[in-house]
Amino acid sequence: MAQIKNRLTPFFENITFDREDNEMILNFGPQHPSAHGQLRLMLHMQQEMITKAHPDVGYLHRGMEKMAENMIYNEFMPTTDRMDYIASSSNNYGFALAVEKLVGLEVPRRAQVIRMMLLEINRLMSHLFWLATTALDIGAMTVFLFAFREREYLMDIIEGYCGARLTHAAIRIGGVPLDIQDDFITQLRVFLDKLPQNIKDYEDLLDTNRIWLMRMEEVGVIPTDMALSWGCTGPMLRASGVAWDIRKEEPYELYDEVEFNVPWSDKGDNYARYRVYMEEMRESAKILYQTITMYQKCVKDGQTELMAHSPKYISAPKLDIMTQNYSLMQHFVLVTQGMRPPVGEVYIPTESPKGELGFYINSQGGPYPYRLKMRAPSFWHTGILTDLLPGHYIPDVVSIIGTTNIVFGEVDR
């Protein structure tokens, strides 16, 4: 059958590419290796300089918010994995925490410690991935291979815990499904003991590297007010002079019990962001050491509970389900019908590796959320390219996209 040509008119077809003012429009993406996913940038250029940037997103849109309205709360958990798929446990956690706050659950301490371990491992994985891909984009192949090697090690640990490497679904509403495996702590220790040397290796390769500095220093400067106005969070905001870390300022889980610093910089350029990421890896390692001690204390104190006790919302432990009639009935109802949280709404922010990951849930007392809005940090970190890119040159685009650390699973949701 013949295709009707004029029905395929692209949106920007009527633009002439060689106008009198010599403006050119360059389509960057959506299939560009350093766009880290499906980002299409329409760049208006004067020679090599960008005069106007227009990010176009939505190529990975799966309608997760719509899906959430048609799923019971527990059913939605694996879907959250597909948001920021580089650190999927942090999405699981953000959603679980929002539902727990809505329902008013208290998570047992041992589960809290395991959650913190998972979250920090995910942060390390995400930051290592960021370093690897950004360095690769800028041409540092060695750093890419080094960082992926370490990330692989972490993924093996996570795989040992939940069986998955990328889409973990390792956190449940009300706790965690499993205790950590026997060699978890041993493996983690081995990794953590090596990590400072590894980070030093990356830094030796990059910190004073002439090419790295040329691509990073004074490039992509985000002033503080611009970062605030665009809703930047996480390392993006901290590199622009605001030392705001939700783990520190509005602590959740046991983050108020662990000691760590919030690295920040007032430079706001690519290099500042790079430094913040590197320092955050060190802080994560510090937190992980402390969680190991906390975990061992839990074991010593005989705290074995992993899920919150709340018969109305959370299934009983497997042993009870298999031995007690009431637990089995309640489990059956919770699986087939789903839990029914109280009427009300919450907005719960957490510090994901990319920034503030918030879940807004409006519940009308039914087993399906009436409205669920996910505040993904990368969404605004992509939007800021509109204001950030003009004035830069075409090679800077790649390094700026790199340091914004955007993941399109969560931009498009």
Partner: protein, 268 residues
Amino acid sequence: MRAYTPKDDVQKKAYYSDRYYVSPQVPKLEVETDEVFAKDLEAIKSKFEVKEAFIQVEQLVIYINANDIYGVLELMRDELEYTQLSEMSAIDWLAKDNTFEIFYQMLSMNKRKRIRVKYFIQNGQAVDSVEKLFRSADWSEREMFDMFGIEANGHPFMKRILMPYDWHGYPLLKTYPLEGDEHAAWYEVDKIFGKEARDVIGPELRDTAKVDRYDSERFARLGYEVPKGTKITGDEPRNEESYQEEGGVFLIKKFDKKDSVVVDDPQR
């Protein structure tokens, strides 16, 4: 008689609800219980009408008039140190009273407080853009327009952001089915070949593993599979398809049908 299904909300519903079950409420606290919030609310109240205010899960929620939104957010940003608009979107209440509820999630880093500013608009009414105050509203308002069809007055580029520009319908409305409407199902066909080609091309088979349970002819004919469209007579030859390598694999014995025993008695 067929059960009535409401057309104004086609989202999934609980198949069973206890008639006597009363949902509990997430507790709402008085604003006076928090000093900082009480002060902020006073400041807002002195200039604008606040219809309702309470604290829910450690955050202040205020309801204002739709026209005041720009003023309220400006006051909050410039005088009350709420420097960031974290999130904004809408909730669809069209089935209930033909309104949308719009919420703005504000964050003050100095006070470590969060306020949710909300108001209602009628269906078809536009909101005032706050893009001049917070650049992040640029994309949020576009997303809200994309998902609900709510326009923002004064927005510089009111276009769809996640869906294609020529999409029909607004996906997050409660009237929009999860699997998409008719326009969604035929989107590519209509665009490339024209509507008249719908019959020729046929609907898209999105689920290739789907088993048609009403297809009594080809359903579960293991060993006697026939290509689609074949007239089934009942004396098809058996497909002797082996699922194991001919010589067997290392350590695993080749299964020989002749040596196997068929248990006739199901009770055994």
